[in-house]
Symmetry: C2
Subunit: 422 residues, 2 copies
Amino acid sequence: MKLRFYNAKILTMENENIIEGELHTENDKITFVGENAPEGKFDREIDLGGNLIIPGFKDAHTHTAMTFLRSFADDLPLNDWLYNQVFPHEAKLTEEAVYAFTQLGNMEYLTSGITSSFDMYMKLPAYVKACTDMGYRSVLCGSINDFGGTVEGIEDEFNEYNSGNPLISYQLGFHAEYTTKREILEGIAALSQKYKAPVYTHNSETKAEVEGCKERYGITPTQLFDKLGMLEYGGGGFHCVWFDERDMEIFRDKNLWMVTNPASNLKLASGVAPICKMRAAGMKNFAIGTDGAASNNSLDMFKEMFLVAGLQKVKEEDAAACPAFEVLEMATKGGALAMGLTDCDVLAAGKKADLAVIDLKQPNMQPLHNIAKNLVYAGGKQNVKMTVIDGKILYEDGKFTTVDADEIYERVNKLTKQICGD
Amino acid sequence: MKLRFYNAKILTMENENIIEGELHTENDKITFVGENAPEGKFDREIDLGGNLIIPGFKDAHTHTAMTFLRSFADDLPLNDWLYNQVFPHEAKLTEEAVYAFTQLGNMEYLTSGITSSFDMYMKLPAYVKACTDMGYRSVLCGSINDFGGTVEGIEDEFNEYNSGNPLISYQLGFHAEYTTKREILEGIAALSQKYKAPVYTHNSETKAEVEGCKERYGITPTQLFDKLGMLEYGGGGFHCVWFDERDMEIFRDKNLWMVTNPASNLKLASGVAPICKMRAAGMKNFAIGTDGAASNNSLDMFKEMFLVAGLQKVKEEDAAACPAFEVLEMATKGGALAMGLTDCDVLAAGKKADLAVIDLKQPNMQPLHNIAKNLVYAGGKQNVKMTVIDGKILYEDGKFTTVDADEIYERVNKLTKQICGD
């Protein structure tokens, strides 16, 4: 399949420039980006009429199948929500349900121009099948904790899901310090050493989590992971709201990825991550995640981008803090590199054809003073005209090309009723 | 014109119930809402296929024509932004420009299901013409300050724009304490007494504003307005971020409207309004505004609703704070009553036909556990299928029925270039 996008504006994210030109793809790859395009034969030629191509957004932390708990148990204190509402209903999940709830979540990513997500959840075969059946790219994250999984199981998953499926890869991970005993943490550290592989986990999401870790170990989660030898080959933390200076130094020195989830952190009252302070401390690697739909409640990178910038400005009491292009980098290039998708970071010949077409001909994108700022401060799902993954158009003008949306809505509601009983 | 919406879910906002039934309109009014609909002849019958009707959102504080400065001068300290970027370019505005920039802003409201806005700006004849030409409902707010306007001029506007145009009304107002000398404030207070009319203004948006007022008068802006006799007939404040206990008591005792603008308050680093504390202090009247596109940068009630709830939760360190339905009330009924639009608050026979149709058949609205929570926590402009004002469909499936969108984008960009030179 060869595609030609012409009459386009292109923000490659290699720098802040906007190219007026063409982008060509062949199968899963970009073959050309620039002004003076070569001639060629294409399966489809798409006149963008001045609209914009950007690299697809990367959702660097999520639990996709949790769509089934969207708006099910909100406005509750965190512990009540997690222990009385989330865990008991997750226990009833079947493979069939995870498949359908993943389809729904992946559809929502497509509507937001998100082309891959870093997913931590359960029932991986059903999840992987849902992604590959519809052509969605995902990086799985190990989720072992005291309630499920073994270190051997994580090693098996690591090998199985890094064995060549072009849409699927896997990173070592565990749920969090507060849910995972030391023996398992040491096992994951050993795996990291054996495979020279990075490790990812929920880290310092709440103040109580950090205080609990200090009671158990006398140090913060980040300092514990460092001490256990888990961070020698990179990796990162999800949330990272309650970091102290030493935590920031470790993240800086080990080049770890800080993945922020601002909508979830607001909605669950966890706090506002100190991203500007982290940058000032020398940390350079930042990405953005939506977290799951049970805590967010939408899977939307535009919402997250506005929140990243806006919350830093108000936290720093400085309207100049956290400028828009920095945030756009986090949402695209940053996410890709955080997840190990080094071929999906920017738009350039040889890179994977994972991209979104943004409709600039809507009131919220006008006038065209600064397209990057328009995206971060005013953009929304209504601006996503098309989402392309691995060279295939999966979403165009509100339609999904590889799934039957109405059939999925019906199935999701039926399965949700069986599980939640409402 | 008689419209029949059938096969609909209807959230009237009279209470939390969702009706499955029909809504009928005749000319500017709703004639029926409920289950067992009467037969009748209609000009158009619209099968909603299970989609949702809600009262249109009310944008209770904005500066619509500021769309021309969207993404023009962001990521700057507040004073630099206001005095070096906003004011000098506003000085170049013509009537033609205000007309076009208002059209663009009103189009964006329609894409967000907003059916009226409480607008404070300049060149009112051009603004009013832009609204009435396209059928958009607006309440104008007086904007006098030391740099423009006279008390006599405000009185003339009050009489002129409250003289029967069904789409236009006017409330007494002034820009803010920090831009308006005491003599003018006293003049507005006298007008309020003369017409028994409420008064609205920017109030306690920034900490510096409150500190400045205390230096000038020894008391806060709210206490000053009270002392000057401006608050005897109601009214309200825009922003209200930095309120003390006495300010809250005055707002409670005088039944004044607190209009929050969370996106603007984040982006300009102004702070987070203490809405939960205000409720605890007995204040009952809350509404939501977008502020202008130069400071937000979008005109989107979904974004504001998520922010109202999320920011209160994190401020109160309580995920149960500021539940979704309370926020939905602020965005619909609250806004209408704040602006004096007592016929536009809920969906009921005899009320104005100002409503939005929400597309529930999109991934972010599924499953259907709780539609109100879906709207507040997961909704977005992509869910707005139709916006109706005064019984007329102004926006449907991405198309505007009373303006030529492409022609407006072209004109807006041309005029913006003339004014901003970029």
